[in-house]
């Protein structure tokens, strides 16, 4: 039985703007001890025995939910594995392990997750306690970063029945405005040469 394993994936990425913004030394991803989602409980139930999809005569024991991750945490993880290193994509042919990772990375870089840090997320989830939001709603808000009441509406479930009135919604939005940085400006596709802002930029 092997003991603690060394950390891998120490990034030697170039000093692009993302690294400057999110300082994430790979040592934070100590795979044995790091608990990524500080505000979610680790559900110990759901230990199921399944047939492995690869070799159907074996049994894979699994714990289906060992913690939910925000978009930022996944992006951080991919960065610490060097997903932002551009030379990987251009020179070497993309192998299977790179394909999904790069696509997820590309997707996440266009969401508000790319401007967040771990401290921001922990701080925000602490402050959200005043509003008695469900964990799923806090996760949604962090991933989507709503900037107006209409963007917040699909996230909150039955607000009137839970006593979340207009004032509470405004309070939540002000908290979002104050604590979560705005999402990046996304360039429009097609022939449009101007940069088009995402919905977060209007506030």
């Amino acid at each position: 039985m092997r003991g603690a394993l060394p950390n891998w994936g120490l990034t030697k990425g170039k000093g692009n703007w993302f690294h400057a913004l999110v300082s994430s030394p790979a040592s934070r991803h100590d795979q044995k001890n790091y608990i990524p989602t500080s505000f979610f409980d680790h559900h110990q139930k759901n230990i199921t025995y399944l047939f492995s999809p690869i070799t159907s005569n074996k049994i894979v024991r699994m714990k289906a939910n060992a913690g939910t991750l925000t978009n930022f945490e996944v992006l951080d993880l991919l960065n610490s594995r060097g997903a932002s290193n551009d030379t990987t994509r251009v020179i070497a042919p993309i192998s299977t392990s790179e394909y999904t990772r790069l696509h997820v990375y590309d997707y996440l870089m266009e969401t508000p997750a790319c401007t967040q840090t771990q401290e921001i997320i922990t701080n925000f989830s602490d402050q959200c306690k005043y509003f008695k939001l469900a964990k799923a709603e806090i996760l949604n808000i962090i991933n989507i970063r709503p900037s107006s009441t209409v963007n917040l509406a699909p996230i909150l479930e039955e607000p009137s029945e839970r006593g979340i009135d207009k004032k509470a919604k405004e309070g939540i939005l002000k908290l979002v405005e104050a604590l979560l940085p705005p999402p990046p400006i996304v360039e429009a596709r097609g022939d449009n040469e101007e940069e088009e802002t995402e919905e977060g930029e209007q506030s």
Binding site: V74, H103, D106, G190
Partner: protein, 203 residues
């Protein structure tokens, strides 16, 4: 959108990899086995880390070493009620199909598109149908020009592998996410950009 899952499986490290450090070889074997594959828990995106390795036995007749490994992976598994931003991929008479880059099987069936709506043949693309939402006197088109479309997850299903398929059938989708855009703040982001931000008084 992403979760951690803890799995235990028996991993076979081929003889060609035995000169690598153990954790690198096992990680390579795990990536080949699990990355980009859909298990019952979702689409595997990345190996998060290895918790323990046992074994290392060489079975008779085989040159490879077999290890029992407990590890954690990052899976893409949205929860019901999560709001996700996606891009438009295609539409047909049954509804819309959206893509996330790394995951392309998000379907919005016709009943979950805001009513009143109508479906018309796309004037720009002969094979496709185009959905149009009629609100008051305005008509809103859902097509390729929408930068981002937000939807809320209604259901995730894992259809069983078909034993027989027609020659020209669509590629089999092992994981299908059904979403709705029939709510405030959902649908193309450009529909809601005109709404006032929080400082204004709105209901």
């Amino acid at each position: 959108m992403f979760c951690l899952s803890e799995l235990e499986d028996t991993v076979r490290v081929p003889p060609s990899d035995l000169n690598l450090p153990l954790e690198v070889a096992i990680k390579k074997a795990l990536q080949k086995l699990f990355l980009d594959k859909v298990l019952s828990i979702g689409l595997c995106v990345s190996i998060y880390g290895i918790k323990s390795i046992e074994g290392g036995f060489v079975l008779p007749g085989d040159g490879a070493a077999t290890y029992k490994v407990v590890f954690r992976i990052v899976v893409f598994r949205p929860f019901v009620g999560e709001v996700i931003a996606a891009k438009f991929k295609e539409s047909d008479s049954n509804g819309l199909r959206l893509t996330l880059g790394f995951f392309e099987d998000v379907y919005v069936p016709a009943p979950l598109i805001p009513t009143p709506n109508r479906c018309e043949p796309d004037p720009y693309n002969r094979n496709q149908m185009r959905w149009v939402w009629k609100y008051g006197d305005d008509e809103f088109i859902i097509d390729d020009s929408c930068q981002q479309i937000k939807f809320r997850v209604e259901n995730i299903s894992y259809p069983p592998v078909p034993t027989e398929r027609a020659e020209d059938a669509k590629p089999f989708a092992p994981m299908v996410v059904t979403g709705t855009i029939d709510d405030d703040g959902l649908g193309p982001v450009s529909w809601w950009e005109a709404c006032a931000p929080i400082s204004d008084d709105e209901d």
